[in-house]
């Protein structure tokens, strides 16, 4: 197993470097020059100013040299400096990471738990009213755009009922400490986490249901019944465990994108996370910051893919590590 992990890590690093180089060029393909954007925001764009900014960004150097400087930095774990934000990229990302992880992991946990639960129920009671109800709701949440769910949530729970705050991570100026602070953050977290989670929950529900119905028809389930096992045991130990494989695959893919995947939710709820940082960096052509977020996101995808492969082994002992 160790050699498997080592091999995957080496491959991962190579893939990551390839991604860095590719992203470096992709970003520069987009029209728009960061120096002109900044000069534009300053309401003045004389030649000297734009040239000054280019020099500051290092954009006056030839492209291969810029790439060399950047890759050298990444190899030494230096993601560069965001001139627009006037701070090191790694500092900016680390500042936003806790909020993003809190949001996305909560949403992920909710969606996975509820999704598998509802999917199991729907499969167990396939063809009944419960199944139809779950399927319809899953379809609705799957189909509704996230920004719409978010705005409707705000309208209902903030404007009309005044139950939950509509924006932010905590009550600004509230100065809460201890448990009060935890409760305050939790109140702010509910809506964004549910908004983001509902979409994924719908996916897992449908995936679990379909997969379980498929597994249920297989011979080993008939054998289990013939052995006289109770229905609950069959569902839990035989059907669900086998049916989870595609769900694990999907969750693995999703979890890798958790860091940068909540752009819309973070924007609507003013949640101070990385998705928003990335979105702003894109609009402002803040190359270093954007590349930095991409590097972190790509690394997360690679790490989670590795974890998914390991979890596979736990869920299905038939799978072996090929070295």
């Amino acid at each position: 197993m160790l050699s498997f992990v080592a091999q995957r890590v080496v491959k991962g690093v190579i893939v990551l470097l390839a991604i860095v180089v590719l992203n470096f060029f992709l970003i520069r393909l987009a029209p728009g020059d960061p120096a002109v954007v900044m000069a534009g925001e300053a309401g003045a764009s004389d030649q000297i100013f734009v040239q000054q900014l280019r020099e500051k960004f290092g954009l006056d150097k030839p492209l291969p040299e810029q790439l060399f400087i950047y890759v050298k930095g990444v190899v030494t774990l230096d993601l560069g400096f965001s001139f627009r934000q006037q701070a090191p990229v790694s500092k900016l990302i680390l500042e936003r990471l806790p909020a993003t992880l809190l949001l996305t992991l909560t949403a992920f946990a909710i969606s996975l738990m509820l999704g598998v639960l509802f999917g199991t129920f729907a499969a167990r009671f396939a063809g009944t009213f419960l199944d139809t109800a779950i399927t319809v709701f899953a379809l609705i949440f799957y189909a509704m755009p996230i920004f719409w769910v978010a705005l409707m949530g705000i309208l209902l729970f903030s404007v009309t009922m005044d139950w939950l705050p509509s924006f932010g991570y905590e009550t600004v100026g509230g100065n809460f400490t201890g448990l009060d602070h935890v409760i305050d953050v939790a109140k702010h977290l509910i809506m964004p986490a549910m908004t983001l989670g509902l979409f994924f929950m719908a996916t897992y529900t449908r995936m679990t249901r379909a997969s379980m119905l498929e597994v249920k028809r297989l011979d080993f389930v008939k054998t289990a019944r013939a052995k006289g096992l109770s229905d609950a045991v069959i569902q839990r130990r035989h059907v669900l465990r086998n049916a989870l494989l595609p769900v694990v695959t999907l969750a693995g893919v999703h979890s890798g994108t958790l860091i940068g995947g909540a752009v819309i939710t973070e924007t609507v709820f003013a949640w101070p996370g990385i998705g928003r940082l990335m979105y702003d960096a894109l609009l402002q052509r803040d190359y270093n910051l954007l590349l930095g977020v991409f590097v972190i996101c790509s690394a997360m995808v690679l790490i989670f893919n590795l974890i998914t492969d390991l979890v596979y082994r736990l869920v299905d002992p038939r799978i072996e590590f090929a070295s």
Partner: protein, 516 residues
């Protein structure tokens, strides 16, 4: 008691009560929206709108300007101009300290000017006519100009010329100076905390040089990136101040009707944002003046004002906004007249060549305006293709002159020499830049009028020159002027005295107080 006496007593009581009601109260915090999140707060190095809105509370300039754009004291308590209009002497306020307790003196002014010449493009241009700056003593600064420069007293507000603490910046690498992210100024509020992506917190400067001010204890600038979410935050009472432009225009009437909401369009007199369409004078059908005039006749600007901007603003008559100096409406007029537009296009021999229209990617209002203009132009037979880009992509296209018609709006800074001439004189044609003479209009007469106008004395001479320039430009239509924009500031009515100058919310909240 005779009735008349009783009435007098009652009136006196009423007046006293109303005077008492207007007496500023101290304390409290204001929650305001800032959008987008500023990249930093060092006003001498970053000049975008959000930076000034927050930092205008931290830093100060030598002067501020009334809604009529008359200079008022700030860090300078008085000023005088020599008879030949070439020497300006400023007397600085005594007893002013930086937020770290060090005294503010003329040495800081000299240092700031040297720094701004390198870091602040607008200040550099504004100071181009300055021959030397001297400080005969700690509280006097003398500017000697190469030649008289009419708008000189108009370049000293905080955003155009913020004062920087010499003792913290001299001899350091300005770009990476740690005080860029925890700025130290002389202003009424001090920087306290910035949770990136969430809020910026400023607290009262207890040693502020204007006794008794500021009245507020704290300002929280909240960062809410989505326009609809900003509206909701105001609606649910979490926000007290929505500075102009914070919410989409179609939300303004709804929010204005909330029972404790007050709205004002004041505070933009200095900037006077004017919206127009860049018309590429270099190539294609728009190189012909008659086609450009047809564009003016084809567009229903009253519709844009009434429907898209919800009645806010004013239809522009030419290159100057009506709020800035030397404006005249005695210029050729272009009412909405599709028939005339069609006739002009026919006369110019327009054969349906494709014309690319670049809307401004500043949100829904601008998107809708782009659609309306497209429809207006199509109605008179123009073949319009809309190009969709984000702000950065749009700027690149405009800077590279790769467009036919493009939306923009620019500030005018109170004087044609500061904010108008740059868009029409041929010396300001330079590729790669977005706010100069992008349209490629070149007219030696206009060049001379703007050059002379900036340096002429007395005021009546400047007026004459600029009025002539406006007439010629409106006849030539180098760009298609649309609206004098108005960005309403929406506040809770308990917020008093928020806007007291022509610079508005960009000038700090030192006069504001809460009627609790």
């Amino acid at each position: 008691m005779p009735k008349r006496v009783l009435l007098g007593v009652l009136l006196a009581c009423g007046l006293t009560a109303s005077a008492l009601a207007q007496e500023p109260k101290t304390g409290g915090a204001i929650n305001a929206v800032i959008q987008p999140e500023p990249p930093g707060l060092m006003l001498a190095m970053l000049q975008n709108g959000p930076v000034q809105m927050v930092s205008g509370n931290i830093f100060e300039g030598l002067l501020r300007y009334s809604p009529k754009l008359e200079p008022q004291p700030e860090l300078a308590e008085s000023w005088s101009v020599s008879e030949d209009a070439k020497t300006y002497t400023f007397k600085l306020r005594k007893g002013v300290t930086w937020h770290d307790g060090k005294p503010f003196t003329a040495a800081d002014v000299l240092f700031s000017i040297e720094m701004l010449k390198q870091t602040h493009a607008r200040a550099r241009n504004n100071l181009a006519q300055v021959d030397k700056v001297e400080a005969p003593d700690d509280y006097t600064v003398v500017f000697t100009l190469k030649q008289p420069f009419g708008p000189f007293l108009g370049i000293f507000e905080v955003g155009s010329m913020p004062m920087v603490p010499k003792h913290l910046y001299e001899g350091t690498d300005w770009k990476t100076n740690p005080y860029n992210n925890a700025p130290v100024g002389t202003g009424p509020f001090m920087f306290k905390e910035w949770q990136k992506g969430s809020f910026i917190r400023l607290v009262k400067n207890p040693n502020y040089h204007e006794k008794g001010k500021p009245y507020l204890d704290e300002i929280y600038w909240q960062i809410i990136p989505d326009a609809a979410a900003r509206s909701v935050a105001f609606e649910t009472g979490k926000i007290d101040v929505l500075p102009g432009g914070s919410v989409e225009n179609f939300d303004v009437p709804r929010l204005s009707k909330l029972k404790d909401a007050c709205v004002t369009g004041a505070g933009w007199e200095f900037f006077s944002p004017l919206a127009w369409l860049w018309l590429n004078n270099r190539q294609g059908p728009l190189a012909d003046k008659r086609v450009r005039q047809a564009v003016m006749y084809a567009i229903d600007r009253d519709f844009a004002k009434d429907v898209i901007w919800n009645g806010l603003g004013k239809v522009a008559t030419g290159p100057s906004a009506s709020t800035i100096k030397y404006y005249t409406d005695d210029v050729p007029k272009y009412p909405y007249d599709p028939a005339k537009a069609k006739a002009l296009l026919k006369e110019a021999g327009y054969k349906g060549e494709k014309i690319r229209l670049l809307p401004l990617a500043y949100g829904e209002t601008w998107q809708r305006w782009g659609e309306a203009v497209k429809q207006n132009l199509q109605d008179v037979g123009m073949n319009i293709e809309t190009i969709a880009t984000d702000v950065a992509g749009g700027n690149q296209k405009i800077g590279d002159w790769d467009y036919d018609i493009a939306f923009t709006y620019l500030y005018q800074y109170g004087d044609p020499a500061l904010g108008v001439g740059r868009n029409y004189v041929s010396s300001a044609i330079a590729k790669g830049q977005v706010f100069n003479n992008v349209e490629g209009y070149s007219n030696p007469e206009i060049d001379k009028l703007f050059a002379d106008g900036a340096l002429a004395t007395p005021d009546s001479k400047r007026k004459e020159l600029y009025e002539k320039a406006q007439k010629i430009l409106v006849e030539d239509v180098p760009v298609a002027w649309m609206l004098e924009l108005q960005f309403p500031t929406i506040t809770r009515c308990k917020v008093k005295n928020l806007i007291t100058t022509g610079i508005g919310v960009n000038d700090g909240f030192k006069d504001a107080w809460l009627d609790k």
